[in-house]
């Protein structure tokens, strides 16, 4: 489940006419991708200037309307590994949000062990022929293009992978939404049946895709750590649902103890995010992303469970007016939260990374 991005209300917003006007205005100024060269549809600004735009957006409660897989993942990748032709072909249409991209990495047999992917890419002279299946492809049913990892050599594992750009309207491509336990259908399975792809769509050299993917996943990880982590405190809901004792405390002492414990860990987690960011700005170690992600998934998942526990039977509804809308949302959020420790490198993988990179523990 690599590549999930928090959508927030982006989907709802996109349907709004005012939003379209605003997005176009932002795109015209190149402010969705402010640091990109103007030739690529950016604003040619410095990192410091880009930060000011981000701060101003944040100050008015807005998010970047151009932000997408294209701007965050593929764009930086093409800037680093693409040819000038590829950049000119794709970047301007990413910076205007004209075309949407999806990320074709995971496969049914290649989850945590991404490099075991098998989607075949055969050299057919003047084009490639691609066959196989991708999964967890976020928004594939809505996407115009896909950047995919494909296998161009079966004799070696990491060294047989290439990075390919695939037009989703090509014959032989079929995206099927996956229904998740939360009811979400944002992810897809994508089937590729002898899909022809132009030779020029390969990024970097043949069999060099793994290095590109690793770099791209760093963009993803660093964007993960920007995830919004402020959440409504549980206290008011817990008082409302569990009552208040004579001393003004949440009446269910056992639930209270667990809620408080989680809330304190959450507070320390937010302090940790601030500290890591401060250290990173000052050139600190910066090898703590895996640790941070596991703390986050652990604390947020527990919080989601506690909220539903506090809601009791109200938190067990799927649909219908008998359940308060907030409660239904909490339930879906709980189910959704189970993915936090799976996508973008599972909890187990992150622990492996911490053990090896941060702690220097030996391989077997």
């Amino acid at each position: 489940m690599n590549g999930l991005i928090f959508q927030g209300d982006a989907h709802a917003a996109a349907a709004n006419a005012d939003f379209q006007v605003w997005r176009k205005a932002m795109a015209d100024k190149g402010w969705g991708t402010p640091t990109w060269d103007k030739a690529y549809g950016g604003a040619g600004l410095s990192a410091a200037q880009a930060k000011i735009i981000a701060q101003e957006l944040s100050a008015i409660g807005a998010f970047n309307p151009i932000r997408s897989y294209g701007t965050m993942m593929l764009g930086p990748t093409l800037l680093e590994f693409g040819t000038e032709e590829q950049r000119l072909q794709h970047l301007p249409r990413i910076s205007t949000h004209e075309l949407r991209w999806c990320q074709g990495f995971s496969e049914p047999g290649a989850g945590s062990d991404l490099a075991s992917l098998q989607m075949k890419c055969v050299d057919a002279g003047d084009h490639w022929v691609v066959s196989g299946q991708k999964i967890w492809t976020s928004g594939a049913d809505q996407a115009d293009w896909c950047f995919a990892l494909v296998r161009t050599d079966t004799s070696v594992k990491h060294g047989g992978i290439s990075f390919l750009l695939i037009d989703m309207t090509s014959p032989g491509v079929e995206a099927r939404p996956i229904v998740l336990i939360s009811g979400s259908t944002h992810f897809c399975e994508v089937f590729f049946n002898d899909v022809k792809v132009p030779k020029g769509n390969l990024v970097g050299a043949v069999n060099q895709g793994w290095n590109i993917a690793k770099r791209l996943l760093q963009f993803e990880r660093s964007s993960l750590s920007e995830v919004k982590t402020d959440v409504t405190p549980l206290a008011p809901i817990a008082h409302a649902m569990l009552g208040t004792d004579a001393e003004g405390r949440i009446a269910d002492a056992d639930a209270r103890a667990r809620i408080v414990h989680n809330a304190m860990r959450h507070a320390a987690y937010l302090q940790t995010v601030r500290r890591f960011n401060e250290e990173a700005r000052n050139g600190g170690p910066g090898n703590g992303v895996s640790t941070l992600k596991n703390l986050w998934s652990n604390i947020v998942q527990r919080r989601a469970e506690l909220l539903v526990e506090v809601l009791g039977a109200d938190g067990l509804g799927w649909s219908g007016d008998a359940y308060p809308a907030d409660a239904r949302e909490a339930t879906r959020a709980l189910l959704h939260s189970k993915a936090f420790s799976i996508y973008g490198g599972s909890y187990e993988i992150q622990n492996n990374i911490t053990a090896k990179r941060s702690l220097g523990l030996p391989d077997r």
Binding site: I178, I181, M241, D252, G312, G315, L316, G320, L335, E348
Partner: protein
């Protein structure tokens, strides 16, 4: 698993076999629509045909005295039937009807009431359900539904929700607040003034919201009065629900274990990773504690053990925790596939959360146990 006698062994084998043949998890899945909600066209939220089979095999009469058409096999036997059925999340009203409603009649019913209802509950022609909760939490000490004296009887006003298996029940055991405290009534589903509607719950079992608008009952509908009776009935419900959680958790664990033995990543079976092995070993330990607590509580029912309230809360609290933990691990260890509605992990997770809340959360039972044991 405790040591079974010959009859019990036969019964258990028969249940396992029937679950395998007739009641795979697909049946529970069939309650859901394509998008993951409960099917809107479902009438009962359980499989009525399958329940008829279950009744024909006598499982609905396990607690019913022979004189009323049952086998009087005891709660321990019914417990492992519930456990086996819960392994496949079998959507059946056995806990509601055969455990809770039958216990209510045995504990509180007079001869006439028992004769009127037990044979039907035993042969499955009537399904019973306990209507006790009225809102978000199981709080049997605080009932809002009122029972007021009416001419030659009683009048009930209020709501009950969620009532498990309530959409298909023919008889409700209703806990009400009377002038002298808690009172329990036998209310046929077709009583005038009683309406019900289904709730779309995450386990697709569609419990009922019952509305009592001046439901008038005769004196013969009074099952009994007092907190003690309600507590005794609820103890059976706690233990039965714990047995279901045990079954659910056991199967969730075994399914996960199977996946660990077949899924390959990084060129090896993921079940060979030591970190996962240790987590599996610890889950197995929790399952052992849970099984012991559930079996001890079932035995206590049959033995009329005065420690039953304490043992029942111990069983429910530990079963809650274990099922919670194992269903989390089931999703986690299956990775992305476990997040899909197509896979069973989500069904176990959702059913577990419902069963954890049903008849008292972990907090409720730890608090109850603590008070009973002087903490």
């Amino acid at each position: 698993m405790a040591v079974l006698n010959e009859e019990q062994t036969m019964l258990k084998d028969m249940v396992s076999q029937w679950v395998r043949d007739r009641m795979p998890v697909g049946v529970a899945r069939g309650l859901y629509d394509h998008s993951g909600g409960g099917r809107k066209d479902a009438t009962t939220g359980f499989d009525a045909d399958a329940y008829a089979e279950v009744a024909a095999m006598g499982w609905s009469g396990i607690l019913v005295p022979e004189a009323h058409g049952g086998s009087d096999f005891g709660a321990f036997s019914l417990g492992f039937v519930l456990e086996e059925l819960a392994r496949a999340l079998s959507p059946l009203p056995l806990l509601s009807s055969a455990m809770v409603a039958v216990s209510a009649l045995r504990l509180g019913g007079n001869a006439a009431q028992q004769s009127a209802w037990l044979p039907g509950l035993a042969d499955g022609s009537i399904i019973g359900a306990l209507a006790v909760d009225e809102g978000a939490h199981h709080l049997p000490d605080i009932l809002a539904l009122t029972a007021t004296r009416a001419e030659n009887g009683w009048r009930l006003d209020g709501i009950k929700r969620p009532v498990a298996d309530g959409m298909g029940a023919g008889l409700f055991i209703v806990a009400a607040r009377g002038d002298d405290g808690t009172a329990l009534f036998l209310v046929p589903a077709d009583a005038a003034g009683l309406t019900r509607e289904p709730l779309d719950q995450i386990d697709a079992r569609r419990p009922a919201l019952l509305r009592f608008d001046g439901v008038v009952l005769g004196d013969d509908a009074m099952l009994g009065q007092g907190d003690a009776l309600l507590s005794a009935i609820l103890d059976r419900a706690y233990v039965g629900q714990a047995a279901e959680l045990l079954g659910l958790a056991t199967q969730a664990f075994e399914t996960t274990l199977e996946y660990l033995k077949t899924r390959v990543q990084f060129g090896q079976l993921i079940g060979s990773f030591q970190a996962l092995q240790h987590r599996a070993s610890e889950m197995f330990g929790e399952l052992q504690l849970t099984r012991s607590a559930v079996e001890a509580a079932l035995v206590a029912i049959d033995a009329d053990d005065p420690q039953l309230p304490s043992l029942a809360s111990l069983a429910k609290a530990i079963a809650n925790e274990t099922a919670h933990r194992i269903t989390c691990e089931m999703v986690q260890l299956h990775g992305g596939i476990g997040m899909t509605h197509e896979h069973d992990a989500g069904l176990y997770l959702k059913r577990s959360r419902v069963a954890e809340q049903a008849y008292g959360s972990s907090s409720f039972h730890r608090e109850r146990w603590a008070r009973l044991n002087g903490y």
